[in-house]
Symmetry: C2
Subunit: 411 residues, 2 copies
DNA sequence: ATTTTTTAATAAAAATATTTACTAACTGTC
DNA sequence: GACAGTTAGTAAATATTTTTATTAAAAAAT
């Protein structure tokens, strides 16, 4: 595969200095520019990048022989003058894989070089646990997905695995899951799949997906709240993922916001997660039922020990009063947590995502009113609050984009 | 002044393109490099910057005729071979002014091009209020300071004014103080003083000072907690000041952490500042006295209506038990607030600064123990907690550095 | 003390990039 | 429909930058 070779040559920083080095940097910058502003003319590129037209021309020509860039024909008329050729990325020249592992299923998808989601398989059944069997099962899911791809979609340059918990995406170690080897998990997966592998925390990957392919337009400072069994936070600062010193940043679920006596699974008391997470929701629901409250779920005999979050969400969507009430309470509490974030970050946009976001206004309105109540109105007025646009696909797309952008050294 | 002319030419981005533009960028990069890693040889610069030796040579020569760079003689021996010349910045080639406005005094100082604090006047008496008189008074303080400088220190390229409250340092507007004109405050000051002027929030300026001239070595993600009458927060992310969308980021004092009924001056209830600020300290002290507690301050008849924070701090330093106790309680509460920050940011370093930091261990130890109690131990263990090294000079130095770095387009 | 090794600085040659000038291609107006 | 006005693309000339080779200077080894 000549194309694949060339691409790696461009994106590796080894064995080059001087002119060759600079040309590679220029090519990456061109790819980036085409990526972000769409197809461009040579004149545009020259102006934007402060390089002369002939130089850009020769770089573009090289990128075309590499198969990464393509001539998309003449520009639309925009006043007088000769029409310029538009150059843009070639969608099919490279692909990236995103693997989003949830508690009870996996979402997996493929992105092309132009950030189109080529294929996605959602809710592949899977049970996440920290065992070798679960890891083998995960590998099998990935391999099956790849094997079912048509030949022309198999030029996969990189993949990203999203896991919850402690992830150090710089060195590729996962501490909460699958930490069986000396080597980083990313290396292990790389050896098995033969594909360059990156790791990322699930909430951060979702934030990245929403940031680059969702509803974010101009904003640079964005918070993504992942409302699932736990409460995750993805922080985008200046257009980049914020990870903190060791990748533990965004432990929003464990800020001490309540004066309760519930021991969180992290060992502390008063964590946000003890009152305002999917887990807490299930606990509170069971408590209410025990106290004699009624719900559709009781009537349907759907309250076994392993009652799932999705059941409560479904019930709420079917107008079950108890579930709706509990979700509103949850929203109020999460809202108080988000107020803290808004005061500290003064973000342009807060995105509500995760499976609980599928309850729509049931959770959004209580959050909104809590924000008014608890955060500085000045700062609050500055901040937009939106529901995730990509919804359950955010993780997959985010993973693909992280794989892509890490390879292109954008991230 | 030939020097001044040249410097501005380098730092303005106007009227240039192509080669000239790139050379300016190169020169700035060289200045930056010399600034951060100290005096360097031409070979070093060439390698670091991926430019050829002759090119660096000619750029350095130009910078020397500009008066910004100087030949510092031969390098120390480091193995065999010919000794290389060391080139470095010229300290006296340019100066920057930092004006740090506090509630009851102003700190003002001058930094040279090599970041040495040439002169500083601390605690110039002043009463901050949002009036034209107070602004005129401020201008007078600045002008007096400048007029007392020796001739060779008057090449001031820029100044930065630190104010508390809402500051948009991008457009130079101050909303909390001196918002009398249509034009941004920075423009007004620029017209009066004839010096390029920048504005910054006081806590952010202190954070910047500590970051670049204090105890920060390698860390890139650092939080600075400014404990004064209010509680401020300076956030350094990836080595840069984080300001948020409109410059309101870091409103740490107003996160809703308490379930009390005290109305904060921001209008909300339960703000951190209502329980854990200098203001709160004074309130609590007066309450205790009213309840019959005793203190050195009472005996000394020092409790008028305008009891100041500095009195309580002094009393604590003189072993006044009540003041020490109250400061410990304050520390515990601030610690709970900082726990939130640590969980969210996973910072490498948290610096305690502001006037209350002068109480040393009296405030540090309760904070430390609160961190252990309230933040995830995993994340907490990752974080160093230190007292400010620059102490009361942090604001002045930070202001000077901001002026310098904004002008050099580093910030 | 002389030679060898190592590194810096400089000069000249080669490679590379930018300007400038020119031609091509298009729009709109008289 | 010719012509003026614009903008794109290309070729040649000019300018700049990098390479390579050479010389200079210092430390280590003989």
């Amino acid at each position: 595969m000549a194309v694949k070779q060339s691409i790696f040559e461009i994106f590796s920083e080894e064995n080059t200095s001087g002119v060759a080095y600079r040309n590679k940097a220029f090519k990456r910058a061109i790819i980036n520019h085409l990526d972000q502003t769409g197809n461009s003319t040579i004149t545009d590129l020259a102006q934007e990048m402060n390089i002369s037209v002939p130089k850009i021309t020769s770089l573009i020509n090289e990128l075309m022989t590499d198969g990464l860039v393509q001539d998309y024909g003449k520009e639309d008329s925009k006043g007088g003058g000769r029409k310029a050729n538009l150059y843009g990325l070639v969608a099919d020249s490279a692909f990236f894989l995103g693997v989003d592992v949830k508690q009870y299923y996996i979402n997996i998808g493929l992105l092309d070089f132009k950030k189109n989601l080529v294929k996605a398989e959602m809710h592949v059944p899977y049970e996440l646990s920290n065992t070798r069997e679960a890891f083998d099962q995960l590998v099998k899911v990935i391999q099956t997905f790849i094997s079912q791809l048509p030949e022309e979609h198999r030029n996969i340059l990189a993949l990203c695995l999203n896991l919850s918990g402690r992830i150090n995406s710089e060195n590729g170690y996962s501490y909460s899951y699958f930490h069986f080897h000396e080597e980083p998990l990313s290396t292990i997966l790389e050896q098995i799949t033969g594909i360059r592998t990156f790791l990322e925390n699930d909430s951060r990957a979702m934030a990245y997906g929403e940031f680059h392919n969702g509803l974010v337009k101009e904003e640079k400072n964005v918070l993504f709240v992942n409302m699932d069994y736990g409460i995750g936070l993805g922080i985008m600062i200046d257009g980049k993922i914020y990870r903190g010193k060791s990748g533990f940043g965004g432990e929003f679920g464990h800020i001490p916001l309540f004066a309760n006596e519930i021991i969180c699974h992290c060992g502390k008391k008063g964590c946000l997660e003890t009152e305002a997470s999917g887990q807490a929701l299930i606990r509170l629901f069971k408590e209410k039922i025990a106290q004699g409250s009624t719900s559709v779920l009781v009537q349907q005999n759907k309250i076994p020990d392993n009652l799932r979050l999705i059941d409560i969400i479904q019930a709420a969507k079917n107008e079950d009063v108890l579930c709706i009430e509990l979700i509103a309470e949850l929203g109020e509490k999460i809202g108080r947590g988000i107020s803290v974030l808004i005061n500290i970050f003064n973000p342009e946009l807060v995105i509500l995502g995760g499976i609980l976001a599928e309850t729509g206004d049931y959770v959004r309105l209580p959050i909104r009113s809590a924000l008014n109540k608890y955060s500085l109105s000045l700062v609050n007025n500055d901040t937009q609050l939106h529901m995730s646009k990509l919804q359950e696909k955010a993780g997959v797309i985010g993973g693909c984009l992280i794989a892509r952008d890490k390879l292109l050294s954008v991230q």
